[in-house]
Structure formats: structure tokens, C-alpha cells
């Protein structure tokens, strides 16, 4: 409220003489501009609904200006005059700012964007819409058994179960469908699973605006913690990624044609190699609820079942983000392809000991040997920008470098 001109001047304001008093009237000024006044001496006489009283000067100094004339009524807090402080000590602090409306500690839940309601005249409840969106179901196809033919949650779930028997999974194909007869010809060519993976990858590159960003991470604390817990570095990267997705929810989303949907839950896909049969991406559903050990256990279970060909269609559906970890063969960086319709995929390569520069608390540099890795994030430029991708990676890095 004060301009540079009044920076050294002290305000004299209309006081509040009682909780319900809102204004006051100047009855008389005891000073003129240019007069000297001592702190606490009366500078003006005022009248309010409750009481007539005097206003004492807040500081000693010289009256610089008088802003409200006699007989004028102003609100409580209005500046009446200004004093240039001099010789009487430091100017008194301004009136402290009022309390803001309190929202501290009251976290708000995110309301996800509403999904299509299908046919105009039919209405769908929140849970029905949510399940339909997650599984890509056209609700107009479903018979409702609720009141007046309403589609109930049970109806959607029943539809899913029956559909599951016929429809292929949304993402990477299950390898358990029977192979058609081998194509005639040279006995070579790509297997059906290989072709399907290829089509999915090609479609991703054709549809998305894929960019890749990398970041270096010091894995010392992760290495120490995982030795203690007996789990792989992937589990830590998974947990760090989940936390980063909660902080940067733009990356935990789907982009299908024009429809962009952010998810509050993190269903984390983990790419598993099936050797000659290619790869498959089972999903850790509600991964945000799991600790590092929990994630390790689930990933191990999914990988085992993947290789034993025991995954169900539900195991490969609903992923909101994917991590790929080809293993410790020594490769250091990659340009992973985004797993449609997600908008981001994180690649974890080898952890290799390198000499790095470390700075101590006093700012001295030295060389230390640290286990380092490079995390690569491929992301869809249609949905987000490089700055956000970099921030996301920085958060993952921070999370990994501060593991307890």
C-alpha cells in the first residue's frame, strides 16, 4: 500500500474502538503539517458510535501530511495522516496483515475429469462411468437391470467378464492365444506375437510426438538400501517413480485421440522380456499403495507368472505408466517407445560405478566413486513439454538419491 514516496513515512490510522465499530469521524486535529510531535502524544480527536476519544501518535517526528479533514467520517484502518519519523526511535511496524482464509491442512482430493456419457438420454453413475473409461467400454452396448433400465455397476462388471472371454486385452497382446497355422512360405518371417508387438510400437511412433530426456542418478543410497532389503534396484525406481507421478500427475495419464484423462491411481506397467516370444507388460494395479518391498514382491510375482504364461487379461490392462528395465547387460541409455495410450515410459539401464565430482559442505570438490545410472524418459509432446519432463526426472532423481 505504500509507494516509494511514503516508504519512510509512518501512517496514523483510524483505530477500531470496539469490535462492532466500523468507522470514526475526525473532530479536531491537534497538529498541522510541519509540526513536530512526540510519540504517544495526542494527534487528533475522534468520535465513534461508542466513544469519543483521542488518537496518540505512533512515533515521534514531523507531521508530513494530513489526509482526512475535520468532520469527515472514514472506515476503521483508513490512513488519517503521515509522520516522518525523526529522533524518537525506530518507526513502529505496520499493522500486521490479516489472517487469510484457512485452508491449511485440508488437502483437497482431485476430481477426475468426467467421461463421455454415451447415448444422450441415458445417465450413468460415477462408478459406472469410471469402470467404463478404465476398460474402454461403450456403455450404450450394455443392458441395464436397474430401475427403469438403468445400468448398474453389476451390469458393467458382468459385461466385462463376458467380454473378457472374447475381446483381446487393450494393450500388449497376451501370448496365450493359440497361434494360427504358420504362414506358408520360407518357414521364416516374424511370429504373430512379434508382429503384434511391432504393430503396437509402430502405431505408437506414428501417433505420438515421442521425445526422450535423460538424467544421471547417483544410486549409492539405493544400492545400500537394496542390499539391506534384498530387493532389486527396479523396486526402488518403481517407488520413486510412483511418488514422482503423484507430484507430476500430467505424466500419469492417457491420451486417446483428443481425449486426455489424468489418473489419480498409479497402475504401473513393468515390461517383462519373454525371450524369443518378445515382451509383455503386466501391470501392478494400485501400485501407489505398495512399499518398496511390496512392489518388489508384486513385480517378482508378475514376472514369474509372465514367464510361466500364467497372466490373466486383467493383469495386462489398465496401466497408467510403464517402466522398462532390460537388465544389467551393460547398456547405459535407450530411447524407449511409449506404451499407448500412456504418455510416458521410463527406462532403467545398467548401474555402473563411475568417478564423479562430489562437493562437500564447505564447497570443496573431490572425486568419488559412485554407482551411477542414466534414467531415460520417453514422453508424448502432444500432452506435455520438455520442462515438465525434466522436472519429473529431477523428482525421480531426488527421490532415489534420498532413499533412507
Amino acid at each position: 500500500m505504500s509507494s516509494s514516496r511514503t516508504e519512510t513515512l509512518v501512517d496514523v490510522t483510524m483505530p477500531q474502538m470496539g469490535v462492532s465499530v466500523a468507522e470514526g469521524t475526525i473532530v479536531a486535529w491537534r497538529v498541522e503539517p510541519g509540526d513536530r510531535i512526540e510519540a504517544d502524544a495526542t494527534i487528533a480527536e475522534i468520535s465513534t458510535d461508542k466513544i469519543d476519544t483521542e488518537v496518540p501518535a505512533p512515533v515521534s517526528g514531523v507531521v508530513a501530511e494530513i489526509l482526512v479533514p475535520v468532520e469527515e467520517t472514514v472506515s476503521v484502518g483508513t490512513v488519517l495522516a503521515r509522520i516522518a519519523p525523526a529522533g524518537g526511535g525506530a518507526p513502529v511496524a505496520d499493522r500486521p496483515p490479516p489472517l487469510d482464509g484457512v485452508t491449511a491442512g485440508q488437502a483437497r482430493t482431485e476430481t477426475p475429469s468426467p467421461s463421455k456419457t454415451g447415448n444422450g438420454h441415458r445417465r450413468y453413475s460415477p462408478v459406472v462411468q469410471r469402470i467404463a473409461t478404465e476398460h474402454g467400454i461403450d456403455l450404450s452396448q450394455i443392458e441395464g437391470t436397474g430401475r427403469d433400465g438403468r445400468v448398474r455397476k453389476q451390469d458393467v462388471l458382468a459385461f466385462l467378464e463376458s467380454a473378457a472371454a472374447e475381446e483381446p486385452p487393450l494393450h500388449i497382446e497376451s501370448p496365450y492365444r493359440p497361434e494360427p497355422l504358420a504362414p506358408a512360405g520360407d518357414g521364416g518371417g516374424l511370429s504373430r506375437i512379434r508382429r503384434q508387438i511391432g504393430e503396437h510400437m509402430k502405431r505408437s511412433l506414428d501417433t505420438t510426438a515421442t521425445c526422450t530426456t535423460w538424467i544421471e542418478v547417483d544410486m549409492s543410497r539405493v544400492e545400500a538400501a537394496r542390499a539391506r532389503l534384498g530387493v532389486t534396484a527396479l523396486s526402488f525406481v518403481a517407488r520413486a517413480t510412483i511418488d514422482a507421478l503423484r507430484e507430476h500427475p500430467a505424466l500419469n495419464a492417457w491420451l486417446e485421440d483428443e481425449r486426455y484423462t489424468r489418473h489419480t491411481e498409479v497402475n504401473l506397467g513393468i515390461a517383462v522380456s519373454l525371450g524369443d516370444d518378445g515382451l509383455i507388460v503386466p501391470v501392478v494395479h494400485r501400485a501407489h499403495e505398495l512399499s518398496v518391498e511390496g512392489l518388489a514382491a508384486r513385480i517378482r510375482d508378475l514376472a514369474d507368472r509372465a514367464r510361466a504364461r500364467q497372466l490373466t487379461p486383467d493383469d495386462v490392462r489398465g496401466g497408467t505408466f510403464t517402466i522398462t528395465n532390460p537388465g544389467q547387460y551393460g547398456s547405459i541409455m535407450a530411447t524407449p517407445i511409449i506404451n499407448l495410450p500412456q504418455v510416458g515410459i521410463l527406462d532403467l539401464e545398467a548401474v555402473i560405478k563411475r568417478p564423479v565430482v562430489v562437493t562437500d559442505a564447505e564447497g570443496n570438490d573431490s572425486i568419488a566413486i559412485r554407482p551411477m545410472t542414466i534414467l531415460g524418459l520417453s514422453w508424448d509432446h502432444r500432452a506435455l513439454d520438455g520442462a515438465l519432463s525434466a522436472q519429473f526426472l529431477a523428482t525421480v532423481k531426488r527421490n532415489l538419491e534420498s532413499v533412507a
Binding site: S125, V127, V128, R147, R150, K153, Q154
Partner: protein, 321 residues
């Protein structure tokens, strides 16, 4: 494990606390020589003496106010209002002195106020009330409402050991009608909700005497799988358990024996509407006593209190939605 009535469980908890902690002091009208209007403290004066099982003057404000004084100099008073209805005479002390003291002055007030509440036996307007909502609305006061004998004991132990003012809503109708296995010795039940019966098609949320009504009403509703969630703790309200039931069942019926407007169930409904919206497959339905003083004559009283038929009917309708 012994089987006790709800009332015996409360007596057992009080007895165990008096034995375990010399700071515990019972205060109330007619609780000493007479053993209490409902005989909860029958025989206590012989073991603990008139100083620790205190017959107070007829002064609810006095009981709460002096309990506050005793609490801030190191005692653990457990006050009894002879009927929960009479807490209105001590409202000022409870809400303005006890409830606000820690926030304002950093001074804890570890009192417990036992409130025999509820109707169903022609008690009339002044002996049948469920006043918990008044105190859910007052900052600084915790409110719990057990529905089983085991919870009556465990929650009372927790309430007495809590450093804050706690209203313990003990339902008079359950005193001798509810029996159950109750562990011996001191055990503390946390201020959380409890799934009384798991289910998946619909959940009935209730507390106090209404839990028994809910269980009976939903034993068989056309074969549907109906969950019953016993809220148990009203302040703090177990948001996680409530939203978890909503996520699994998607249809909710909330039962209040208290008068409908601004009852505990209204707060639960608002919570679900805000945070459980995405999981709902139907409107949040409330079954509550209408906004009338509880009448005395049996046909009138039965017409207003939520009974098995009304709860079952509401569930049936919502299941079909």
C-alpha cells in the same frame, strides 16, 4: 473369554481403570451409595470408597466444571450424566471450557463424560435423546459410540486414557440386550470404525443401537450381499474405512437414531458425496428419526425411531436402483 452384557462390560472397564490408576475418579448423581440409576457402579463404593465413587450434588454444570478442575491438576475424572439428555445443563462447561482449553492455552483436559443415551422404552422427550451431534460440532471434543459389549469396554478404556475430553455414548437400550465375548483385563480399542458384516452390493453405516437394527434388517434382503459398517468413532470419523466400504459396495444407506437434521449421518453423507463420488452407483440414502422430540406412547415412539422394517425397505429400494 467371558460373555458379558454391554452394561457389565462398562462396569468391568470402570472397575479395571479404578484399580489400575489411582488418578481415576468417578463422579455422578446417585452412583455411589445407590450404585447408579442403571446399576453400572453397583457395589463399587465398597471396593473404592465414597471419595472415588463420588455422589455429587444435582448439578450437571458443576459435575463437568469440577471434573475439568480436577483433571488439570492431574486426576482422570469419569463423569456420568444420569441421562445423556441432561448434558444440556453442562453444555457450557463441556463446549467452552473443556473443548477449547487445549487449543487456547495448551492445557489438556483429560475428562470422560459417560452419556447413557437413546430411546425405545417410552422414556419420553427428556430421557431418550442422542445428543452426539452437538458435540461432534464442538472443536476439541472426541465422541465414541460402541455397539457391542467388547467395544463398550475397549472404547471406554481408550476414552479414559485419552488426554482429551471424550463423550462416551453408551446406549441404554443395549445395556442388557447385547451380550458378547469380552476380553478380560485392560485393552484399548482404537477410535476407528469396524466392519460388522462384510458385503459387496450395498453398505449400511450405523452406530450405537442402530448397528443391531442394521444387522437384523439386512440378514437376508433378497439374497443380496449387504455390508454393515459400525462407525464406532464419530470424532475422529474413520474416513478411510467409510470410503473403503463405498469403494467396494457403491451403494450406501446411513442410519441415525438421532434426529435427522445435522445428525452424525449427515456428516458421513457429506463426506461420501465429496470424496467417494466416483465410487457411487446410487444416491446416498439416510434413514433417521424425523425432527421431533421422542414421543412417549409406544405406537408413536416406534413410528419415529428407525426400525428393522424401515431399514430393510430402504436397502431393498436402493439395491434395485
Amino acid at each position: 473369554m467371558p460373555t458379558l452384557t454391554y452394561l457389565q462390560a462398562i462396569s468391568a472397564a470402570l472397575r479395571d481403570e479404578l484399580r489400575a490408576d489411582e488418578r481415576v475418579l468417578l463422579m455422578g448423581e446417585d452412583i455411589g451409595v445407590f450404585g447408579g440409576a442403571f446399576k453400572v457402579t453397583d457395589g463399587f463404593i465398597d471396593e473404592f470408597g465414597p471419595d472415588r465413587v463420588m455422589d455429587t450434588p444435582l448439578a450437571e454444570s458443576g459435575i463437568i466444571g469440577t471434573a475439568i478442575g480436577a483433571a488439570v491438576v492431574g486426576m482422570r475424572p469419569v463423569c456420568e450424566m444420569q441421562f445423556s439428555d441432561f448434558i444440556s445443563c453442562g453444555f457450557d462447561q463441556l463446549v467452552n471450557v473443556a473443548g477449547k482449553m487445549h487449543y487456547r492455552q495448551g492445557l489438556a483436559v483429560p475428562i470422560t463424560v459417560r452419556l447413557p443415551s437413546g430411546g425405545g422404552f417410552s422414556g419420553g422427550p427428556f430421557h431418550s435423546q442422542n445428543p452426539e451431534a452437538w458435540f461432534m460440532h464442538a472443536p476439541g471434543i472426541k465422541v465414541v459410540a460402541p455397539s457391542t459389549a467388547a467395544d463398550a469396554k475397549g472404547l471406554l478404556h481408550s476414552a479414559i486414557r485419552d488426554p482429551n475430553p471424550v463423550c462416551f455414548m453408551e446406549h441404554k437400550h443395549l445395556y442388557r440386550r447385547v451380550k458378547g465375548e469380552v476380553p478380560s483385563g485392560v485393552f484399548e480399542t482404537p477410535f476407528t470404525a469396524r466392519v460388522a458384516r462384510p458385503g459387496s452390493d450395498l453398505v449400511v453405516m450405523a452406530y450405537g443401537a442402530m448397528v443391531t437394527v442394521a444387522l437384523e434388517a439386512t440378514e437376508d434382503v433378497d439374497g443380496a450381499s449387504v455390508e454393515v459398517l459400525d462407525l464406532r468413532s464419530l470424532v475422529p470419523l474413520d474416513e478411510e474405512a467409510i470410503l473403503d466400504s463405498v469403494a467396494r459396495c457403491s451403494k450406501v444407506v446411513i442410519v441415525d437414531e438421532a434426529n435427522s437434521t445435522c445428525a452424525a449421518g449427515a456428516q458421513v453423507a457429506a463426506l461420501i458425496a465429496e470424496k467417494g463420488f466416483e465410487d457411487l452407483d446410487g444416491p446416498v440414502v439416510r434413514v433417521a428419526t424425523p425432527d421431533v422430540p421422542i414421543p412417549f406412547s409406544p405406537p408413536l415412539e416406534q413410528a419415529v425411531l428407525p426400525g428393522v422394517e424401515r431399514v430393510r425397505g430402504a436397502c431393498r429400494e436402493l439395491l434395485a436402483y
